[in-house]
C-alpha cells in the first residue's frame, strides 16, 4: 500500500487546517452559503435530507487494518456507529455534525486518510479492480498508476472548478471489473507491440440522466505521458464543457456534440504543447510508486494438498461449499485465494457496516490477509491474500459477523444507493426495495440456479446505484409526488458493455417484487443450455419480457 512521506502528510494536514478555517468563517457568516458549497463538497461534505453526509475517500479501494480501525472509531465518536460503502469504493457517514467535520478530517489525516474531492465539480477518486495485483487475468497492476494519478489530481489548481464532476477508472486485466466504459475517462493499462506499457484511453462514458458508453480516443499513450495527456483532456473539457446547464455539463455531452474524432483532435492539439514537459513521468517515479505495491510475503505451500483438503471440507460441509463457490476468487499465486466479505445480508441496507464490523474486518485483515482489505464497487469487502488452507477457518469467523452470505454475483448481491431514506436528491426510496426483493427470493437454491445476475437499484436518475448496467435495473421515479419504480433490462457493465432498456410504465413499490418474479420465471422457463440472463434476454428480445410483465392477469 502507498505510505505517505513527510510532504504528503504535511499537504493533507494543511488541507485540514484550511477547511477548519473555512468552516469557522462559514459558521460566523463570513462565507456565503453558495460559496461554502463547493468548499465543503470538495471536502466530502454534503447536506442531506436528514443531516450532513461525509464521503470519505478510499483511494482505489485500498484500506489498511489501521485505517479500518480509525474508520470504526470515527463512526463511534462522531456518528451513529455505522457507515456505508458506496459504488465508487468510498465510505460515507450519514450523521456527522458540520462543526465536527474538521475534527473528523484531522482524525482521518492521522491515518493517511481524507475526504478530498469525493464530491463537487472536480476530479474524484480513482477507482479500479478490487482484485488488482492478485487477479489471474491481470496483465499490469493498476495501483501504482492510480497512486501517481491520485497525486496529480489532488488539489490540481487548474481543475477544481470544472463544469461538472469528473470520474476516472483504471483497469489492468482482461475482464473489466472497473467499468471503464462508464467513466468520464476510462483507462485500460496495456502493453503495445513493442512491449511498452501504456494506456488505451476512453472518454465520455457515464451513467446518470444520459447514460453513454465511452469512446476510445487514443489506442495507446505511453505510461510516461499519462499525466500530460490527462492535463490535455481536462483542459479541453474545462474550457469547452457546458457551463450553463448542469444536465449538459458532463464531458460525455461535449464528446457527443463534437464527435469523438474531433474531441480527440483537440486533445491531441493541446497535448502537443505540453507533451514532454516537466509533468512527464520519470522512470524513477514509476518505480517508486511500484515499490509500494510489491508482493506481500507469500509462503509456498503444497498446493495440491491444500486443494484436496479444501474439496474434502466442501463436500463435508455443504454450506461451506456454497460459500466457496460464490464468494471466493482465484489468485495468481498458488496456495492463495481472494475472499469477498458480503455486505448484503438480508435486512441490512446493501453496503452498510457497523463500527464493530469495521473493527472485525481490521482484525480479519491482520489475521488472514497481510493487514489489508479492499472495498469494491459492488459494495462488498475483499481480503485479497488468504491462504487456501485457512479458508475454512476464515469462513467460520465470518459467519457470526454476518459477512458469509454466500450470494456474491447473484440476485441477492444487489447494488443499491442510499435513496430516499438518506439522499435529498432521491425521487424514491431504494433500500426498502432491496429488502423486499431479498425477502421474496430467500430460497438460495433458486437464487443459485439463476446464476450470475446483477440487480442494481437507484433512487433517482443520478444513477449512483448503476441501474443502467444491471441485468435488471430499478430506478425510483416521482409521479405527482408519489414514489414509483421503473424497471429496465439488459444492461451489462463489463467488456461487452450495454445499457439497459426501460421495460414500460413504472410500478408502485408493492408491485416490484412480483414484477421481478415474472421476469425471472420467464428466464428460468425459456433459457436453454445454461444461458445467462443476458443471453436469454437478447435471444427472446425485450418485447417478450414486456408482454409477460404487462399481460393482464386472468
Amino acid at each position: 500500500m502507498y505510505i505517505y512521506d513527510k510532504i504528503d502528510q504535511q499537504i493533507i494536514e494543511d488541507r485540514v487546517t484550511q477547511f477548519r478555517g473555512q468552516t469557522e468563517r462559514y459558521l460566523n457568516g463570513e462565507i456565503r452559503e453558495e460559496e461554502f458549497l463547493p468548499l465543503r463538497l470538495q471536502n466530502g461534505l454534503y447536506i442531506q435530507r436528514l443531516a450532513p453526509m461525509l464521503r470519505i475517500c478510499i483511494p482505489y479501494g485500498m484500506l489498511s487494518s489501521k485505517q479500518l480501525r480509525a474508520l470504526a472509531e470515527v463512526t463511534r465518536k462522531y456518528d451513529k456507529g455505522y457507515a456505508h460503502f458506496t459504488t465508487r469504493q468510498n465510505i460515507q457517514l450519514n450523521w456527522p455534525a458540520l462543526e465536527n467535520v474538521p475534527d473528523i478530517l484531522a482524525d482521518l489525516a492521522d491515518v493517511e486518510m481524507h475526504a478530498v474531492q469525493t464530491s463537487g465539480n472536480c476530479i474524484r477518486n480513482f477507482t479500479t479492480d478490487q482484485f488488482a495485483g492478485v487477479a489471474k487475468d491481470e496483465s499490469i497492476d493498476p495501483r501504482p498508476y492510480c497512486e501517481i494519478m491520485r497525486q496529480w489530481a489532488t488539489f490540481h489548481p487548474e481543475f477544481a472548478f470544472l463544469p461538472r464532476k469528473f470520474k476516472i477508472a483504471v483497469c489492468g486485466s482482461e475482464t473489466d471489473r472497473a467499468a471503464v466504459r462508464f467513466h468520464d475517462i476510462g483507462l485500460n493499462l496495456i502493453q503495445n507491440e513493442q512491449g511498452e506499457t501504456g494506456f488505451q484511453v476512453l472518454v465520455g462514458g457515464g451513467l446518470g440522466r444520459t447514460p453513454v458508453i465511452g469512446s476510445v480516443i487514443r489506442e495507446f499513450i505511453p505510461e510516461k505521458d499519462i499525466l500530460t495527456y490527462l492535463d490535455a483532456i481536462l483542459r479541453v473539457y474545462n474550457l469547452n464543457g457546458d457551463r450553463n446547464n448542469k444536465y449538459k455539463a458532463r464531458i460525455k455531452i461535449l464528446v457527443r456534440a463534437l464527435g469523438p474524432e474531433e474531441f480527440a483532435k483537440r486533445v491531441e492539439a493541446e497535448w502537443q504543447h505540453i507533451k514532454d514537459g516537466p509533468a512527464t513521468l520519470t522512470e524513477e517515479e514509476i518505480e517508486r510508486a511500484k515499490g509500494f505495491f510489491t508482493e506481500p510475503n507469500y509462503q509456498s505451500f503444497d498446493a495440491d494438498q491444500a486443494e484436496q483438503a479444501l474439496s474434502d471440507q466442501a463436500s463435508q460441509d455443504k454450506a461451506f461449499g456454497r460459500w466457496l463457490e460464490r464468494n471466493i476468487t482465484e489468485h495468481r499465486v498458488p496456495g492463495y485465494r481472494s475472499v469477498t466479505l458480503s455486505l448484503k445480508p438480508i435486512g441490512v441496507p446493501p453496503g452498510d457496516v457497523t463500527s464493530s464490523q469495521l473493527d472485525s474486518i481490521a482484525d480479519l485483515a491482520d489475521e488472514f490477509s497481510f493487514g489489508e482489505a479492499r472495498s469494491t464497487h459492488e459494495q462488498n469487502i475483499v481480503l485479497a491474500d488468504v491462504e487456501t488452507a485457512r479458508l475454512y477457518e476464515l469462513w467460520q469467523k465470518l459467519k457470526p459477523l454476518g459477512f458469509a452470505t454466500p450470494t456474491l454475483g447473484t440476485l441477492l448481491d444487489m447494488i443499491c444507493c442510499p435513496g430516499g431514506d438518506f439522499c435529498s436528491l432521491a425521487n424514491a426510496k431504494s433500500i426498502p426495495i432491496a429488502e423486499a426483493i431479498q425477502r421474496k427470493f430467500d430460497d438460495l437454491d433458486y437464487v443459485y440456479d439463476l446464476g450470475e445476475l446483477d440487480l442494481n437499484i437507484s433512487g433517482c436518475m443520478n444513477a449512483c446505484g448503476h441501474h443502467h448496467i444491471g441485468d435488471i435495473g430499478i430506478l425510483g421515479v416521482d409521479k405527482k409526488g408519489e414514489e414509483f419504480y421503473q424497471v429496465q433490462l439488459g444492461g451489462c457493465q463489463s467488456n461487452n458493455a450495454q445499457l439497459a432498456k426501460v421495460l414500460g410504465p413504472a410500478f408502485n413499490r408493492d408491485e416490484v417484487p412480483d414484477v421481478i418474479e415474472k421476469i425471472l420465471s420467464t428466464f428460468v422457463e425459456k433459457r436453454v443450455d445454461g444461458e445467462s440472463f443476458n443471453e436469454t434476454y437478447h435471444r427472446l428480445g425485450h418485447d417478450h419480457f414486456k408482454e409477460v410483465v404487462y399481460a393482464k392477469d386472468n
Binding site: I7, I11, T154, F159, F161, R243, P278, E285, R288
Partner: protein
C-alpha cells in the same frame, strides 16, 4: 480608491473598467478594455500602451488577442461567477504558453478561498468579490506548504523534487 490584492499585498487600484463601444474614444487614465475593443482599436491603443489593459471573458482565450500580448501592462480575467473555472486554464495558458509576464488579475467575483489555486495558475492580482476584506484574505494565499503538480508557481512537479 478601491483596494485589490497584488503580489501578496493590499494596494489601491487605479485601473478603471468603463463600458465602451468599440467606436468610442479611450477615456483618460488607466483603463481595462474588452477584447472586442482591444482588437478593434489596436492603433489608438499602441500610442498609450502603458495605460491600457485588457479584460478577457471566460470564452476568450489568448489566441484571440491581437498585437503584442507580452506588452500589455495588465490582463484581467473575468470570473462572472466564482465557480466558473475556465479562467484557471486561461491564466495558465497566458503564462505558460504565451509567456505573459505582466500583471495577471482575477476580477469579477473570485472568492478568498480560491486564492491559492488562482495564484498557482499564474494570477498575481485579485479583485475579490465585494464582501471579502482583502487584508484578511491575504492569509489564504498560503494555505498549502507544497503541491504535487506542475503549475506556474512551481514548474517542477513534486515527484521530480523527491530524491
Amino acid at each position: 480608491m478601491p483596494k485589490i490584492i497584488k503580489d501578496a499585498a493590499v494596494i489601491d487600484d487605479s485601473w478603471q473598467m468603463p463600458e465602451l463601444e468599440t467606436t468610442s474614444d479611450l477615456p483618460e487614465g488607466q483603463v481595462l478594455v474588452s477584447l472586442e475593443y482591444w482588437n478593434a482599436n489596436q492603433e489608438d491603443i499602441s500610442e498609450v500602451a502603458d495605460r491600457v489593459g485588457l479584460v478577457l471573458e471566460p470564452t476568450e482565450t489568448p489566441d484571440q488577442i491581437e498585437g503584442d500580448l507580452k506588452a500589455i501592462p495588465v490582463i484581467a480575467v473575468n470570473f462572472p461567477i466564482f465557480a466558473d473555472g475556465r479562467g484557471f486554464s486561461i491564466g495558465r495558458l497566458l503564462r505558460e504558453r504565451y509567456g505573459y509576464e505582466g500583471e495577471l488579475r482575477a476580477v469579477g467575483s473570485p472568492i478568498r478561498d480560491q486564492l491559492t489555486y488562482l495564484s498557482r495558475v499564474g494570477f498575481n492580482a485579485f479583485q475579490l468579490a465585494e464582501h471579502y476584506n482583502p487584508e484578511e484574505a491575504l492569509a489564504s494565499l498560503n494555505d498549502f506548504s507544497d503541491s504535487y503538480q506542475v503549475a506556474v508557481d512551481q514548474p517542477v512537479p513534486l515527484f521530480r523534487r523527491k530524491s
